[in-house]
């Protein structure tokens, strides 16, 4: 049966996204795309902190009120995943640290004061969160939960599974720079993946082919701010309250996009120790140090 390639570009979770796959008919392609878009929208509506009606906003509004918020199985699994990341990262990957953005938003022109930092860091701490299979409660007023570092990557994995379930063996999805391969090209080749230079996004550092698995990048590509001539990353250390320094960007290849995403984020959060930590793991990665030095251990 003759298969042709279909290419869709769209915007979701605040990022440009694309989906490419091979199938037999235009109708089948449209059906799958519609189904995928619906699922991504569903995830966004449930987990976006920007949407008032999202579950995350509901949980955050209930912080410190004594009112628990009921959760479903998917949310529980995401919390468990977040918990695992917290433990694996020596508490650097903390889904309650998003609140630090209040001190480091892009209009910020000066460094936060130490009392501001103290007030905010007091509201951070995954350990403080009360959660179980049925409900979750943030015990301090002002505490915030943010799945920003997980849901987009998870969505890429969900898309890949949906494709496979729909009989699409060959395809690739990109959600805001995070890539998940559904399956190799019909001739058995991998999909070409290009990695941009964090300091010069028009320029590519490398390109390689990937037959299966996922690639996620964490770095100060677009979201950063310059205060007194210093470039501050959007990735914030929950312990110090300061943006992390040491690495410009980390790209990781893993079977699941959500795993690739959290590994690259943890490496970034580890700052100067990030590279050494990556080297202890049996994974393929690419690391851009602050001095521009490139460590390419992609092995592809």
């Amino acid at each position: 049966m003759n298969k042709q390639i279909f290419n869709f570009t769209f915007k979701a979770m605040g990022s440009p996204c694309s989906l490419q796959f091979y199938t037999v008919s235009h109708q089948h392609a449209e059906d799958i795309y519609t189904q995928i878009l619906q699922r991504i929208t569903e995830l966004e509506q449930r987990y976006s902190r920007y949407l008032e009606t999202s579950l995350i906003s509901e949980i955050n509004r209930a912080a410190g009120t004594g009112r628990k918020t009921s959760i479903d199985q998917e949310t529980f699994a995401l919390l468990q995943y977040a918990d695992q990341c917290y433990r694996e990262s020596n508490h650097l990957f903390d889904v309650t640290s998003g609140i630090l953005r209040k001190l480091w938003h892009s209009q910020q022109t000066s460094l936060p004061t130490s009392s501001q930092l103290k007030d905010i860091t007091a509201l951070i701490g995954w350990k403080k969160v009360k959660w179980n299979q049925r409900d979750i409660y943030l015990p301090l007023r002002g505490m915030e939960l943010d799945f920003g570092g997980i849901v987009k990557e998870y969505a890429a994995d969900v898309v890949a599974t949906l494709c496979l379930k729909s009989g699409i063996p060959s395809g690739v999805v990109e959600l805001g720079g995070d890539v998940r391969v559904v399956g190799a090209l019909p001739n058995g080749d991998g999909w070409t993946i290009a990695i941009r230079d964090p300091r010069n996004p028009e320029h590519l550092i490398t390109r390689f082919k990937l037959k299966s698995g996922a690639v996620a990048t964490s770095g100060d590509y677009e979201r950063f701010q310059i205060i007194n001539g210093v470039r501050y990353s959007h990735l914030l250390n929950p312990k110090t309250g300061f943006p992390v320094t040491g690495l410009q960007a980390v790209t990781v290849i893993a079977e699941q996009c959500v795993v690739a995403g959290s590994l690259s984020t943890i490496a970034m959060l580890k700052g100067h120790h990030g590279l050494a930590w990556l080297q202890t793991l049996p994974i393929a990665f690419l690391c851009c140090k602050n001095d521009g030095q490139l460590i390419n251990q992609l092995g592809v």
Binding site: M1, V24, H28, Q73, E74, A77, L78, Q80, Y81, D83, Q84, C85, E88, Y154, D157, V158, A160, T161, L162, L164, K165, G167, P169, P186, N187, G188, A254, E255, Q256, V258, V259, S262, L263, T280, L281, P282, I283, A284, Q297, G299
Partner: protein, 397 residues
């Protein structure tokens, strides 16, 4: 990238990720592939000492019908030649010797079968039938199966049933069969396949089959001696007219990521029937990908069976006083130790051919009565060795 690293951290994260809904698809891989498959296989089976040789040619075609159905056609041609054991005799000292057919058998068998499969989201339905013919044997059969996925496709229940109607027209007329007799077999299977985790799978099946009609072998003979070891009667093989057999299978498959996605397959099978035959099989194989499309599969197997209640190498007494009797070596107590190696090369290709797969394998079997579990002192008269060579080509469009 070195593998001797902190694999545990990655495993823990991966496990947590796989607990997320919608991430575990790989273990239950998509079933409807809209591809055309062509399989052509040649097999050569040869027993030691001028005994049976079989050449088998098999071709199978899979054709998709839309994206929810496939049809499959299978053709088999076998050519059998060589001598086979007819009866056992014993000398004055009681030593048993196997007597082979003088004239070499030459037989051909042709078989055709077809089935159609319908794939639903959580289940698969199949139905089919076939016909096989050789100069003295014809068989018609029908089968149907249903498999149902549960538990996000981690659990699959399989149920199937089949019925076969056989006509036997022996070329010698001195058997109980006369010039035509029939046999019917019904079989049902129930099984569960459980994905244990992303790398392991457990499969269990229980099969019951019921055969009735003429179940003897019209070409086998049985020798009766009197108390003084004097040959009194040469009788035709006579087995009960019904056989009920239970068979069980437990299969465990473990993928080993660190060994280049190798897989261990460990099978245990047992059978028991109302003829008194109990058998056990342990089968181990290691599927090792070698890179660049090569795969090697070493395999070892042990089979043991206890003899049928009515089997003796030779009989003392008279056929009239013995309800059933057979000296067929296949109903004796024995064991078979075997080992084999299979090599596969997959060549991926561009359209329209998606891939081409070449297989070659050899398996060597040592059949001995003393290999029977728990021992067997009936002597080595029926021992023999055989090998099976197979070569196949699989094309997918």
């Amino acid at each position: 990238m070195s593998k001797r690293k902190n694999t545990k951290l990655i495993n823990r994260l991966t496990c947590a990720a796989l607990a997320l809904p919608g991430l575990m698809h790989e273990a239950s891989a998509a079933r409807v592939e809209e591809t055309y498959d062509v399989d052509v296989q040649y097999g050569h089976y040869e027993e030691s000492g001028q005994r049976i040789k079989v050449n088998t040619f098999e071709s199978a075609f899979t054709i998709p019908i839309g994206n929810a159905m496939t049809s499959m056609f299978n053709f088999v041609h076998d050519a059998v030649s060589g001598a086979s054991p007819i009866y056992n005799s014993r000398d004055a000292q009681g030593k048993v010797t196997q007597v082979m057919s003088g004239a070499s058998i030459k037989e051909e068998r042709n078989m055709i079968d077809a089935n159609i499969a319908y794939f639903l989201d959580q289940s698969t339905l199949k139905a089919g039938g076939g016909y096989s013919t050789e100069h003295d044997y014809k068989s018609k059969y029908l089968n149907a199966s249903w498999s149902q996925d549960f538990n996000k496709k981690h659990t699959t229940l399989n149920l199937s049933g089949s019925v076969a109607f056989d006509d036997i027209e022996p070329t010698n007329f001195n058997s109980d069969c006369g010039n035509k007799c029939t046999k019917t077999t019904e079989q049902v299977l129930a099984g569960v396949t459980q994905v244990l985790n992303k790398d392991a799978l457990l499969q269990t099946n229980l099969t019951f089959s019921n055969s009735s009609g003429y179940l003897s072998d019209p070409y086998k003979r049985v020798i009766f001696y009197d108390a003084n070891n004097v040959l009194t009667t040469i009788a035709s093989d006579k087995r009960p007219r019904d056989r009920r057999q239970w068979a069980g299978l437990v299969r465990y498959v473990q993928h080993v990521e660190d060994a280049n996605r190798a897989a261990l397959h460990a099978d245990y099978r047992f059978t028991t029937d109302n003829w008194g035959i109990n058998s056990h099989t342990v089968d181990l194989s290691w599927h090792q990908p070698l890179g660049e499309g090569w795969e090697i599969v070493p395999r070892i197997r042990y089979y043991t069976q206890g003899k049928a209640d009515f089997y003796e190498p030779t009989f003392t007494g008279t056929p009239t006083n013995t309800p059933n009797y057979s000296s067929d070596y296949r109903l004796a107590g024995f064991g078979v130790v075997s080992g084999g190696l299979k090599l596969t090369k997959t060549l991926s290709s561009s359209k329209p051919l998606q891939y081409l797969k070449l297989n070659a394998g050899i398996e060597y079997f040592d059949h001995k009565s003393r290999y029977e579990l728990g021992g067997n002192d009936s002597g080595s008269f029926a021992d023999f060795k055989y090998y099976l060579f197979t070569a196949s080509v699989n094309l997918k469009f």
